[in-house]
């Protein structure tokens, strides 16, 4: 007998003996018995021991159940890892304990169903786990910012990418994760590489049999987009190829399609070429969608696109009108009197010849033939419009007469002033001026502001918050303590722990040259003096209703707890109001006030009120801040959007007034910083606060964590 067969024979004998030992019954070497022995002998020694071990334990409760386990164990090991097998047999034991032998045996015998459930539970990848990653990833790819969210269908409407809640196409979690990523890239590519250009969407929606057409178009576009990705993202394309097909046959189907539409892989191919090919493919059988492909929702795309086009057209007009006004002023013409559009110049776009990094054409904006510098807002708008049209349609460039807001201001403001007397109780109100950019001067005493108390809120909110963020608070406090604990070696002290050699040598030199010797010759470790006063200005506008308000209050509570460790002087005020005649500031905590139960209750009592007139609030709180004695003074605004109020206080008017208020503060030596959750804040915050003086928090729920973190960074 050859050595191998001999070993195998001995192995089978051993397995048989072991099995007989643990089950307590004789096992035949024919029929099912022989099969069982071969199955178990084929397993590794560790798995065999695992089976014997558990068979013995189960056998103590019930021999029959142990028999069923032994019978199915090898099959279980074929499909599951040891953890999986263990949970399977535990489930059986539990059923046996609770519902008897039959139920226990059922679990063991229904192994295939169990395997399927176990795999989908353990190998699937859920959206929640990858959401944050995907958002970063897609933003990194570039183009219009897209929101990643879930839906029962996988598609994009050109503003959002809809992905499934869970992916379990593969037996490995990593591969399922990759499918999430590849799907997001594929849907992003549709927007980026022009699948949903306006012209394409319109043409597609006018074609007969939209459903069938869309399905064919989807496949043809997939071929074109894959080629685009292969050129720019070779690494990604390799993953497309590796994971896209469900089987060899599936791949062959796609190869046939690709062979029939060779032009689509050409860099010059566009979505229009895909549309042109649709009739040729009507008779060809459709391949199954690739693993990362989504569906087409033409209706949703049209809705999102039309809304965006209108929105961007208006934004573009406004941005151009503002630019026009600035240019007119720069040219020495008074925009107020140059009302006649004929006297105004015209905007045009010209290619500047250089090709951008992503194959985009770079444009330069011209006004009356002369090149003008584009603002970041205009650039973002143009880039989004280019994504929709592939060009900038002329109608987007028609400048309009500026001055829409000031007019509204006069009329609406006038209307409001009639109703002001209703609030005669506000006679303690303080007057503040406001900057009117259209007139380029202040409106003296235009705003009336009153300081009010925040109604007392429920203290359980505070307790709940402290309990909810128990762990986080600990770590925030720790990092804050670290700031304090940053003991620094201070040189040239009049007394200290050690001699400052440099200072001593200098003093000695002074002495030798006949001067007076300095006393400051010691070093000592000491914590830095933090001579900081900080004012928190909290947005209490109506738009903060719900989540944002909760997050603001939670942030404040965590921050107060942490600031108590730091010992910085701080005050908290809320702001809101309606029209220039009723600006309101809500006291939450004054500088001189301790962090007491009342303060906590007031924080919990912060509720959304009406509008956001920021300029006047900044001026008032800046005034309060100015009255404190501290080396460093900071005003930190927590906000959810741009300044907005009745009476034309919006758009550029609000932004310019706020900017002026902040400049006034800066002149007084007060630093300002803004923390916002408004994703569009990058368009206007740099103009108001300066390039580095703001932070955009992408998720409301991160606010409590981030506010403390930003504060620490800001003041160290």
């Amino acid at each position: 007998m050859p050595v191998e067969s001999r070993q195998s024979f001995l192995n089978r004998i051993r397995v048989q003996k072991d099995l007989e030992r643990v089950t307590g019954t004789a096992i035949e070497r024919q029929g099912r018995g022989a099969e069982l022995i071969s199955e178990i002998a084929a397993l590794g020694r560790e798995n065999q021991d695992f089976i014997y071990h558990w068979a013995e334990i189960i056998g103590r409760s019930n021999g029959e159940l142990a028999g069923h386990f032994v019978n199915r164990a090898a099959a279980a090991f074929e499909k599951l890892d040891r953890n999986g097998v263990e949970t399977w047999l535990m489930a059986a034991m539990e059923q046996f304990d609770n519902r008897g032998l039959g139920a226990g045996i059922d679990v063991l015998e229904e192994l295939p169903q169990y395997i399927e459930a176990y795999r989908s539970r353990h190998n699937s990848c859920s959206f929640d786990l990858v959401a944050q990653f995907l958002q970063h990833f897609v933003t990194g790819l570039g183009g219009r910012e897209m929101i990643i969210t879930t839906s029962s269908d996988t598609y994009t409407d050109t503003e959002k990418i809809f992905l499934p809640e869970i992916v379990n196409q593969f037996d490995e979690r990593d591969l399922n994760f990759s499918i999430f990523k590849l799907t997001a890239v594929h849907l992003w590519a549709q927007s980026w590489y022009g699948t949903w250009r306006y012209q394409v969407v319109e043409r597609l929606s006018r074609m007969p049999d939209t459903a069938a057409t869309s399905a064919i178009f989807n496949c043809l576009e997939c071929i074109r987009l894959d080629a685009c990705v292969s050129r720019e993202f070779p690494g990604m394309y390799r993953q497309f190829e590796a994971l896209g097909y469900r089987s060899t046959m599936h791949k062959e189907q796609w190869d046939i399609w690709r062979a029939r539409a060779p032009f689509l892989v050409d860099p010059a191919a566009s979505a229009m070429d895909s549309i042109a090919l649709v009739p040729d493919f009507r008779s060809v059988s459709l391949p199954e969608l690739k693993c990362y492909q989504g569906e087409i929702r033409l209706q949703q795309i049209r809705e999102a696109m039309f809304a965006r086009i209108e929105r961007e057209k208006a934004a573009m007009k406004q941005a151009l009108a503002e630019l026009q006004r600035t240019l007119q002023e720069a040219n020495g013409r008074d925009p107020e009197t140059t009302g006649n559009p004929k006297e105004m110049g015209e905007f045009s776009l010209a290619e500047d010849g250089e090709s951008g990094s992503d194959g985009e054409i770079n444009f330069e904006l011209r006004y009356d033939g002369e090149q003008v510098e584009m603002t970041a807002e205009l650039e973002a708008l143009l880039s989004s419009i280019l994504q929709d049209f592939g060009e900038v349609p002329d109608e987007h460039l028609e400048g309009i007469n500026a001055g829409m807001y000031p007019d509204q201001l006069e009329s609406e403001g006038g209307g409001e002033s009639a109703g002001v007397d209703k609030n005669s109780e506000l006679k303690d109100a303080i007057s503040y001026r406001e900057w009117d950019y259209t007139r380029q001067r202040y409106r003296e005493g235009f705003c009336r502001l009153s300081e009010l108390d925040v109604p007392i809120g429920d203290e359980t909110f505070v307790e709940d918050t402290l309990a909810k963020y128990h762990g986080l608070l600990k770590s925030i406090k720790k990092t804050f303590e670290a700031v304090l604990g940053e003991a620094k070696l201070q040189r040239r002290q009049s007394q200290g722990d050690d001699i400052d050699i440099d200072a001593l040598v200098e003093a000695h030199a002074d002495l030798a040259s006949g001067r007076e010797m300095s006393d400051y010759v010691y070093t000592r470790f000491r914590n830095l003096d933090r001579n900081i006063a900080v004012m928190f200005m909290v947005d209490m506008s109506g738009s903060t209703l719900g989540w944002v308000n909760d997050a603001e209050r939670e942030s404040l509570i965590l921050l107060c707890e942490a600031l108590e460790t730091l010992g910085d002087r701080y005050a908290i005020y809320g702001f809101s109001g309606r029209t220039n005649k009723r600006c309101e500031i809500y006291r939450v905590k004054r500088f001189e006030e301790a962090y007491t139960r009342f303060v906590r209750e007031r924080i919990s009592g912060i509720r959304p009120k009406s509008y956001t007139r920021m300029g006047v609030a900044i001026r008032h709180l800046g005034h309060l801040l100015n009255m404190t004695r501290a080396r460093t003074k900071i005003l930190i605004t927590l906000s959810d959007g741009r300044p907005e109020d009745y009476g034309g206080y919006k758009g550029r008017y609000g932004i310019e007034d706020t900017r002026h208020a902040l400049l006034e503060l800066r002149r007084d030596g007060i630093h300002s910083f803004c923390i916002t959750i408004d994703k569009e804040a990058q368009d206007y915050l740099p103009h108001m606060y300066g390039m580095a003086n703001y932070a955009v928090i992408d998720e409301v729920k991160k606010l409590p964590l981030k506010v403390a973190d930003i504060y620490r960074r800001l003041t160290t």
């Binding site: 990194g140 790819l141 570039g142 993202f233 070779p234 690494g235 030798a512 580095a692």
Partner: protein
């Protein structure tokens, strides 16, 4: 291994450093130097400020003294101090005084880090007086025409305690530095990491731009040109591109797990 020590004021850049101009910064700096105006370089980290000064040092044929400012750097660290030698006191010039005496370019890197008292010496040096007060010697040093003071500062710092005062900044001719455009950045990467495959360099730059898309959305800064060059050098030495970008770029940029993963995946998508 031979070690050569040279005095800092004799540190003349003899070989033309590689520098790719992005605008008219060379002519502006040369004109400022001709007119004895100090220069302020603004820009994010790793965009080429120090390299530019090296280049200008070569271009103008002036020795260059660099001082990396830190928060314990005082005016006397810049100007100089007395030392005791065998019972005698000996005056030793600080880097700024040495630069002033020898008509060098003095480059104060990250000047906002230095202590506030440094402005006492910087201010009279940077206006039309061009004087360096050496208080301990009772001297006022009238600096030669060749001397040039250049300072750098990164406006992206979000600390209110590290800001350049108006009275200081308004004494300088300011040059703003940003990241170069894609083609130029590729050229820089290819030149700095000799031997890199142009296709790989192009992908590296594309990856760099993608990380910059994330600035403000979770990253404080995108990958700087310096980081891309570092990655390119690793690649030339035989490291796999994705490993090089992970180690030289991603891990240097962030500790946030999700963000790190996103940056990892971005590099995997281009290579």
């Amino acid at each position: 291994m031979s070690i050569q020590a040279i005095r800092t004021e004799e540190n003349l850049v003899t070989e033309e450093p590689y520098y790719e101009p992005v605008g008219d910064e060379i002519s502006v700096f040369a004109a400022a130097h001709k007119n004895q105006l100090p220069v302020l370089l603004k820009g994010p980290t790793g965009c080429g400020k120090t390299r530019f000064i090296e280049y200008m040092s070569w271009f103008l044929q002036r020795p260059m003294i660099t001082v990396a400012c830190h928060d314990d750097l005082t005016a006397s660290d810049l100007v100089g101090r007395y030392l005791v030698k065998g019972g005698e006191t000996v005056w030793v010039d600080g880097p700024l005084t040495r630069a002033a005496r020898n008509g060098c370019i003095c480059y104060l890197d990250e000047v906002v880090e230095a202590r506030k008292d440094t402005s006492v010496v910087i201010h009279p040096l940077c206006d039309d007086r061009r004087l360096l007060p050496i208080e301990k010697l009772g001297e006022l040093l009238q600096v030669p025409n060749e001397f040039c003071l250049a300072i750098s500062y990164n406006p992206g710092y979000q600390s209110v305690l590290k800001d350049l005062k108006q009275s200081t900044r308004q004494r300088f001719v300011a040059l703003e530095f940003g990241y170069p455009d894609a083609d130029k950045e590729q050229l820089i990467v290819e030149n700095e990491a000799r031997g890199i495959d142009p296709v790989v360099a192009k992908h590296l730059v594309k990856f760099g731009i993608m990380t910059r898309n994330l600035k403000g959305g979770g990253l404080d800064e995108g990958a700087s040109t310096r980081l891309l060059v570092n990655a390119a050098k690793l690649i030339v030495s035989g490291i796999e591109p994705v490993v090089a970008t992970d180690t030289a770029v991603a891990l240097a940029l962030t500790d946030d797990v999700d963000m790190l993963k996103a940056v990892h995946e971005l590099s995997r998508s281009v290579f």
